[in-house]
Symmetry: C2
Subunit: 125 residues, 2 copies
Amino acid sequence: MVQFQQTHFNAPFAALADTTRRGVLEQLARADASITDLANHFDMTLTGMKKHVGVLELAGLVTTEKVGRVRTCRIGPCRLDEEMEWISRYRAVWDARFDSLDRVVAELKRKDTLPAARRNRGRHE
Amino acid sequence: MVQFQQTHFNAPFAALADTTRRGVLEQLARADASITDLANHFDMTLTGMKKHVGVLELAGLVTTEKVGRVRTCRIGPCRLDEEMEWISRYRAVWDARFDSLDRVVAELKRKDTLPAARRNRGRHE
DNA sequence: TTGAAACTGAACCATATGGTTCAGTATAGA
DNA sequence: TCTATACTGAACCATATGGTTCAGTTTCAA
């Protein structure tokens, strides 16, 4: 019974999980660039860079447009708003948990009584 | 050549790039859980869940402690602060770039008749 | 003391990832 | 027209990922 099946987060996070791709994003945030520009900058073959750009494009983080021979890459429509929101919400839930009275109760219970008490709380989700 | 080699971002982002693992984090944000709890909740074998927890642990997002037979998983020391900061900085650079463009456009077209400079976003350079 | 529960590790599998080389095609420019 | 540039796609490679099964080991509890 999984409550969230937000697979659309997978591609952006996976795109960010690579040093080269984050570098490409930092580069493109400053100025648009061609595949050749980026390949030179990151010391990689054109084909290799094309793949990275493809991953970023699939994630919506980059858009490209080919004019003549050169394909220009620029920052795409995905601004990582939802991803930031996910992280924020995740931490909010976490903080709320430890700020609540529940924490004190759980802490006291863990001191002497059975450890099954905590586990039962997570059962009925 | 490459200015930022921050490979320590790889593991956390990669850890987030999976629906099951994000679900585990959401779960653990609410309550600690054993491997069995998580495996049941996400309809997966113990071994499979153990691997996911291992990935999360490697990324610092989860810590585990084994007491008796049961390994209890809880939210780890990595609060994704730096990751949030990276995204914020990335967007700040991007925004700064277009804000300065806007300033140039505004400078050139100082005698009103201004057709929404921001709509031309990405068409230049 | 004995059996079940909870985990662990090895091995396996299919597919994805991050690169490469090589052989093209299309276009810009002399 | 000719050539170099810029990209593209197929094929290949090594490794990683996301799962599984199976065969243990430890620990809890009756």
